[in-house]
Symmetry: C2
Subunit: 431 residues, 2 copies
């Protein structure tokens, strides 16, 4: 007998362009999708999804989740002042408890708005990993190596130490995984990249990087290396193993071809790139070049939301506005960014991101019984152009319901908010 049957659903399986299944049942057993069809096999729990759209849970491929403690702390500042006067000094003050508080609050927001898995680059990841486990989400966690200054010592780097704890414990399979990370081209050197890259080969894990986020960064790298940041990373072997590169705002055509050829995924972060004045990544060109483009929110301090529905819609909109072509990045393509492409970028293609037999039951149910979702001519358009994170009524990860009707089952939202407001906020403010 199945554990759960979701019946009478409109299903967007994300297994082929435009495919929508009406009056469909999805059966869940042992955390996997065990039935898809028009029958209603027996199940311990039956959920009637009439008036709802069921689709794969969303994947946030670039986040600094714990930065939730800084939500709205530093808006409308020039980039340098934002980073050096606001973010960096606060980060130096944040302790593990504050970071965990931010991560838990961020997960509450992600679960509420339909995200099931996230790629996260921040501090104190061994402690955060325990919370991800408790929350029941999936995550690819890393702490980025920033090798700044002449006296940089790899072995005493906090990120290196944390990564060495994480790698043997989580590795490259299971719901929680360790990724490794080089913060960016401009914050370290090829010698360090090569040391980090050794881990990628040894443990078979993904390398997360920031890539060509700002024009300054991109141009200075060219002056320094005589080549673009992407070409430099490739030259020193970083792209020999799977890489997930965030932003890619200033990628050149040759970079896009390189990333496509080397199988590097790009986490497009449209809200953050606009908000920090970094620019607009040309994902139409990236997709045409064959790059696996996925979606990220970046940190909440440059967003200020973890609602991927906003990024999905904006990805489609910006591509059209930038190219003056309303057919650029269709609704279905925008949805692929946040599901199947995200799964690929996390090394989870055979595990999540689609509704298909044998994959993990990572799915969400969207309530369309609202004025702003009426009428529905095309469920894919409705999800991309009209739906909001607040329309998600059920979030399920590995067959386990993490949220139903707004209520979280694994996180005490009230205490998560209180912990941020009472413990973390004074630290951020320097009180």
């Amino acid at each position: 007998m199945l554990d759960t049957l979701i019946k009478n659903a409109v299903v967007i399986p994300m297994t082929e362009p435009g495919l929508v299944l009406h009056g469909c049942s999805i059966g869940v057993g042992d955390g996997k999708i065990a039935y898809i069809g028009s029958e209603c096999p027996e199940a311990a729990e039956v959920i009637d999804a009439r008036g709802h759209i069921v689709m794969p849970g969303l994947i946030n491929a670039h986040a600094h989740t714990a930065m939730c403690v800084m939500r709205g702390y530093a808006d409308d500042y020039p980039l340098k002042s934002w980073l050096y006067d606001k973010v960096f000094p606060v980060e130096a003050r944040l302790d593990e408890r504050a970071i965990v508080a931010g991560a838990v609050l961020g997960m509450a927001e992600m679960i509420r708005t339909g995200t099931v898995s996230f790629s996260d680059m921040y501090f104190c990841q061994p402690a955060v990993a325990k919370e991800v486990e408790r929350a029941g989400m999936k995550a690819n966690l890393c702490n980025a190596v920033l090798a700044l200054g002449d006296n940089y010592d790899f072995d005493s780097d906090r990120a290196v130490k944390e990564t060495r704890v994480l790698l043997p414990e989580y590795g490259n399979s299971g719901p929680i995984r360790t990724d490794i990370a080089i913060h960016a081209e401009y914050t370290s050197s090829p010698a360090v990249w090569q040391r980090v890259h050794e881990w990628a080969k040894e443990y078979g894990v993904i390398t997360q990087i920031h890539l060509s986020e700002t024009r300054t960064e991109h141009e200075e790298a060219k002056a320094r290396h005589g080549m673009t940041p992407a070409a430099a990373f490739d030259k020193y072997g970083v792209f020999d193993t799977p890489v997930l590169a965030a932003h890619g705002v200033w990628l050149e055509r040759s970079d896009m071809e390189l990333l496509a050829a080397r199988g590097v995924s790009v986490a497009h972060c449209p809200v953050s790139n606009l908000k920090l004045g970094s620019g607009m990544a040309n994902i139409s060109a990236m997709l045409r070049a064959g790059v696996n483009v996925c979606l990220g929110t970046d940190g909440v301090c440059s967003n200020n939301s973890l609602d991927l529905f906003e990024e999905i819609k904006l990805s489609a909109l910006l591509a059209k506005g930038e190219t003056l072509d309303p057919t650029a990045v269709s609704a279905y393509e925008a949805l692929e960014l946040a599901t199947v492409n995200g799964a690929r970028a996390q090394g989870r293609y055979d595990e999540t991101g689609r509704i298909a037999l044998g994959l993990d039951a990572d799915l969400i149910m969207i309530n369309t019984d609202s004025p702003h979702l009426c009428p529905v001519y095309d469920p894919i358009s409705a999800v991309v152009y009209s739906a909001r994170g607040s329309d998600v009524e059920l979030t399920m990860v590995r067959g386990r319901t993490l949220m139903r009707d707004g209520a979280l089952t694994t996180i005490d939202v009230e205490s998560a908010m209180r912990e941020v407001a009472e413990y973390a906020m004074p630290i951020v403010k320097g009180e």
Copy 2:
């Protein structure tokens, strides 16, 4: 005694940049704001706004509300095909009942997401006006004159006939007003503009127009008139009375100076302009030139939402992304677009758009007790960068509560959705 007292609120009055009042009470009497302060004068009804932000209700300065019946009907199409193969044929089929159904559904969405007043250009406005009255909203309604074809006859034009019904009935004061409208430069001639403009002088009403929305339209006008559309309208006297111009994506610097000098307001429609591939209006430059920029959703068929919170955030984001300057269009400026500037564009500056003594009690209450709105360092940032229409918990127009906790008091949402799904949808689909 006051009718209503809202106490313990965090208030953003929109009366001066950055001003936030903590622990504030707002008293409402006879539909007006009768008290602002820290005391709690007696009132028939007391609302405790602890954990809420209170601010002026939002103003949607460019909508085709009834197009809700086409939500998601024609996404990702090339512009010409969108208009000529999809929108125009459907509009030719829509009858008054379908249009009223769309307008009512759209008002339900607007009220739920905090909009109190809208400027609307569409058909069957005398019937829609009755519904606006029933719904308790404010609106500046017009039906745009499109003078196409050699045999165009002004007096038998449906828009002209409707306008002649509306003008003596509603005029230029009160919650529901008649505006007049010239659809656009490319859809009529200077002779027609002048006839429409006669009404503006006779009745003292606002003229709504579409202006320089697409590059093609802008360039073709220059070829036709030897000047930009804005300059052409000005030449023929259209700007001698107050004008609200939608879009302005391709305005030149000289146009911006002209609009500022002539007091023409521009309704920025960022979502629609991106979605149709029209481009991005440079509102930073417009604001610097002194133009009164306000915000519109445009029709839902090119959006697909009437949630102004999305337009507010995107206005700030796009300005930053376009100029590569994160200080461009601050949170406060973005909020001005949707409140005080919208009021000015509607000829309602002394009536709505701010929380100030003697103005109509047109206000909204935003619940900040949610993970995605935690923590709040700056209420203005929280509203602009983190809040969503779904966070609005109370919408009040002229002292009357139109929505509380998601429940509408003047519109039967279920029957509004049913009417669109059962009556209008088959007409749209041509069944």
